[in-house]
């Protein structure tokens, strides 16, 4: 409704591109426009999510009853490895920053693009190359990897499957992640519009910024670890292999030095999206802006100090176990700060629970369960029992899928009208949230119980006492498939039949809502000058917003 004057005359970034002709496939895959790149990422990442999810469904099908159901043990081992690798390296790590970070970070700070647009395009190409290598690795001699996504040595040196290609793919994907991180940090420091001080930046920018630092500082560690593993496999150089005097536990250290901070790469951008959605639908300023901003940095930093909580039973020294357990508990505090501030933001707001908001509510519940069970795992006595059981599987699906995955969906529903200029079916979306919520808990909650009863993970077969719970979990996976299908269907269909979206359908006040839907090529006609705080809803009047 706002900007009635400009909307009519303006071309969106779909009609105007950075390449010679704005149409055709080339105008996309060679575009340096951050918005087009964001959409490229959306298409590729969503595809891999569906692939990974189908593997998940197949695993659940195998586990519906004890003994062989649809595949043999070796296939099962390869399936969960691929599922993990795809979900982690191709879906959730790049997911939010590459799609929504690319699309909205420059807009949020009033810039016309990221600092290095061509590097940005290169990141996408590297991502695609890595994905291609990963797929190639499935068809190469030796067959798909069967090591689990953690690639623990010595098994990964001994395995006859094609470990080297698969981890090389992860290596390449790491580069894409690093370049995106470099780009975002520089963008935030150098491209802010006049008046956009650090504390006027939307919280999504803060959390993406913190994420970018983890991408830059942590990813090289996994790169070198993978490189060493490849060198070890190819040339027989003794580095980690105990047969040559190496220390297999050292490999685990290096792996988790990256992979624990990586879980915060996954969750931080999601937390940023939550900090956007809650004020918009509560129509009041965020509670504790600075606390939330600083807690992002705190999570990013403290995240480096806790990696060995994945190794409490691995044979590391007892002293190290105690220190890492203590530090693990510290890392939970900033997440708590965020949760409390979000809930406090709803206080005395004017809440309109539209689908994005409902998804955020689901997120707060599911992520809290995931995070709080993280505390159970952080505690030494309990983790010794629960390590490598289904309890851990449940924990990480709650945080990754219930946390980041839910927000991935929430972000789609929040920004869809801005990105594509069309509105989806709100009613259907409301029902989907409920179905999703039920499905999620049916699918994963039984895993907590099984884990506590002693069901180890990465098990092709199980003892009969777990049959009922495994069965329930599989039923949940079918409900989940329906929910995800409805989400995809609702969104995709809206592109054709959805009604045209307003520039500002929700009454948001951050900069993306002050430009047309979809945005024009360089986002702003003139450089915006920022005078307001990011969530100052008194602007709505100036913006000429009438609620419908």
């Amino acid at each position: 409704m706002s900007d009635g004057k400009t909307v009519a005359t303006e071309k969106s970034f779909y009609e105007e591109g950075t390449t010679k002709s704005p149409k055709g496939i080339k105008s996309w895959i060679f575009s340096t426009d951050h918005k087009r790149i964001g959409i490229l990422y959306l298409c590729s990442i969503a595809t891999f999510f569906v692939v990974g999810a189908i593997l998940g469904i197949l695993m659940r099908l195998e586990l519906i009853a004890p003994g062989r159901t649809i595949m043999d043990a070796q296939t099962y081992n390869q399936t969960f490895t691929l599922h993990g690798v795809i979900m982690i390296f191709l879906f959730i790590v790049p997911g939010l920053p590459a799609i929504f970070g690319n699309f909205f970070l420059p807009i949020h700070i009033g810039a016309k693009d990221v600092a290095f647009p061509r590097l940005n395009l290169l990141s996408w190409w590297i991502y695609i190359t890595g994905a291609f290598l990963a797929l190639l690795a499935i068809t190469m001699p030796g067959g798909p990897v069967d090591t689990g996504w953690t690639f623990y040595i010595p098994y990964s040196v001994r395995s006859t499957t094609n470990v080297s290609w698969a981890i090389f793919a992860a290596f390449v994907l790491g580069f894409s992640s690093i370049l995106t991180g470099i780009n975002f940090i520089t963008t935030v420091h150098r491209m802010r519009a006049p008046g956009m001080t650090y504390f006027k930046m939307p919280l999504f920018v803060w959390s993406t910024y913190a994420t970018a630092w983890i991408q830059v500082i942590a990813t090289p560690i996994i790169a070198i670890t993978i490189l060493l593993l490849i060198i070890e496999r190819f040339f027989g150089v003794g580095i980690f292999d105990p047969a040559l005097g190496g220390d297999p536990i050292l490999y685990q250290h290096l792996f988790w030095i990256y992979s624990h901070p990586a879980v915060y790469i996954m969750i931080l951008p999601a937390m940023g999206v939550v900090s956007e959605i809650i004020p918009t639908f509560s129509r009041r300023t965020i509670f504790g802006y600075k606390a939330i901003a600083y807690s992002s940095l705190a999570i990013a930093f403290v995240g480096y100090l806790v990696w060995a909580h994945h190794m409490f039973t691995s044979g590391i020294s007892d002293t190290a176990r105690i220190i890492f357990s203590l530090l693990t508990f510290i890392v939970a505090l900033p997440s708590g700060v965020k949760i409390f501030n979000w809930v406090a933001t709803m206080y005395k707001g004017s809440i309109d629970p539209k689908p994005p908001f409902l998804w955020v509510m689901a997120f707060i519940f599911l992520f809290s369960i995931g995070g709080l069970t993280g505390l159970v795992l952080g505690s030494l006595a309990t983790d010794i029992h629960l390590h490598d059981t289904y309890f851990v599987v449940a924990h990480f699906h709650y945080v990754m899928f219930g946390g980041t995955g839910t927000i991935f969906i929430a972000a789609l529903f929040y920004w869809w009208p801005k990105m594509f200029g069309r509105m989806y079916n709100i009613k259907l979306a409301n029902y989907t949230v409920v179905l999703y919520f039920i499905a999620f808990n049916t699918l994963y909650f039984p895993k907590f119980i099984m884990g506590y009863m002693g069901m180890p993970r990465r098990y092709y077969d199980y003892l009969s006492e777990f049959t009922t719970l495994q069965f329930i979990s599989t039923i949940g996976s079918w409900l989940m498939a329906v929910a995800i299908f409805l989400i995809i269907w609702n969104l995709v269909r809206s592109l054709k039949t959805g009604r045209i979206a307003h520039a500002n359908p929700w009454g948001g006040v951050t900069l993306e809502w002050q430009i047309a839907s979809p945005p024009p090529l360089e986002n702003f006609h003139e450089v915006p000058v920022i005078t307001h705080e990011p969530y100052d809803f008194s602007q709505l009047k100036e913006m000429d917003y009438e609620s419908k």
Partner: protein, 311 residues
């Protein structure tokens, strides 16, 4: 209030209850508050929103209280852990060897078994090492586990307080039969345990039964090296070709993807032991652990001798 087959069971359950209890309270609190706000401040009711930018005291409060909570959680977990890891002087040491995909237990008197026997009430110290990849010895009933690694000795202590049989399982992914790497711990009253300890070893029993098949050959070596986990001695099909009548057998093998028929002889046997992946028998998975670094020349010759005699 909590008890179990081992004191540790009670301790861990207690810590678990504490952390989960606090968590449930927090979760319920947060959820109810959130839902309450959504109804109370619903836009339909037409409240005017109030901008509240924050409150320093609240921020301090919700950092301080969780800090106290997590520190107490850490402390309980730490306490339980220290008790679990402190092994009494008088503990009985049992050597554990893990390999793909079986367990072996060696007792101080030289006896060995593939089920773990322990006397009730006696502190046990398992000293563990793997011969190939990582495994993890997990006894759910006692709430304990520890990885078993090649080249590094790890240890795990426990005391079984109630007689009974409890499952031992492998909790670190170790390849094809990771999910079948079960055995059990049998906690026996002291006298029964001693009877068992003085009795025949399982190895002896196997040796005896096998000797019916192959006179006085040292088939035990096949057991010690883990061969008969996958290769049967009686012609039945397991994960790998049976050893029965293997010498001179005509077999289809895959070499670099191509099929070829060969006759099993000394050379072939040696190659399959040392470098199993160069030629895989058709229809079987490529799972044989390479023995290059695990057998010495003497053992290889001995094994080949045994195999040839098994006709």
């Amino acid at each position: 209030m909590f008890s179990g087959p081992s004191e540790n069971t009670g301790t861990v359950d207690m810590v678990m209850l504490y952390i989960v209890g606090v968590s449930v309270l927090l979760l319920v609190g947060i959820t109810i508050t959130m839902i309450y706000f959504v109804f109370k401040y619903n836009r339909k009711k037409g409240h005017k929103p109030v901008d509240i930018h924050g409150n320093v005291w609240l921020e301090i409060l919700w950092i301080a209280i969780p800090t106290i909570l997590v520190l107490s959680m850490f402390y309980y977990g730490y306490n339980g852990f220290v008790v679990m890891r402190t092994i009494p002087e008088n503990a009985m040491e049992i050597k554990v060897t893990a390999r793909m995909w079986e367990w072996k237990f060696d007792y101080e008197n030289g006896k060995s078994s593939d089920t773990l026997y322990v006397p009730v009430g006696q502190p046990i110290n398992l000293v563990m090492e793997s011969v190939d990849v990582n495994h993890s010895l997990f006894i759910p009933a006692f709430r304990i586990k520890e990885d078993v690694i090649a080249g590094i000795k790890t240890h795990l202590g426990f005391t079984a307080d109630e007689a009974g049989t409890y499952i031992i399982t492998c909790a670190e992914y170790c390849g094809l039969k990771h999910s079948m790497m079960y055995t059990a711990v049998k906690a026996l009253p002291l006298t029964e345990f001693n009877n068992w300890l003085e009795g025949k070893t399982e190895k002896q029993i196997i040796d005896e039964s096998v000797s019916l098949l192959a006179e006085k050959l040292n088939v035990g070596l096949l057991h010690d090296k883990g061969c008969i986990t996958c290769h049967s001695l009686d012609g039945s099909i397991k994960q790998a070709p049976s050893f029965l009548a293997i010498n001179g057998r005509k077999t289809v093998i895959l070499e670099g993807g191509e099929e070829r028929t060969i006759t099993v002889d000394d050379n072939y046997l040696r190659k399959s032991i040392m470098d199993p992946y160069s030629e895989i028998v058709k229809g079987y998975p490529a799972i044989m652990p390479e023995q290059k670094r695990m057998l010495n020349e003497d053992e290889v010759n001995q094994i080949i001798g045994i195999l040839k005699a098994l006709n």
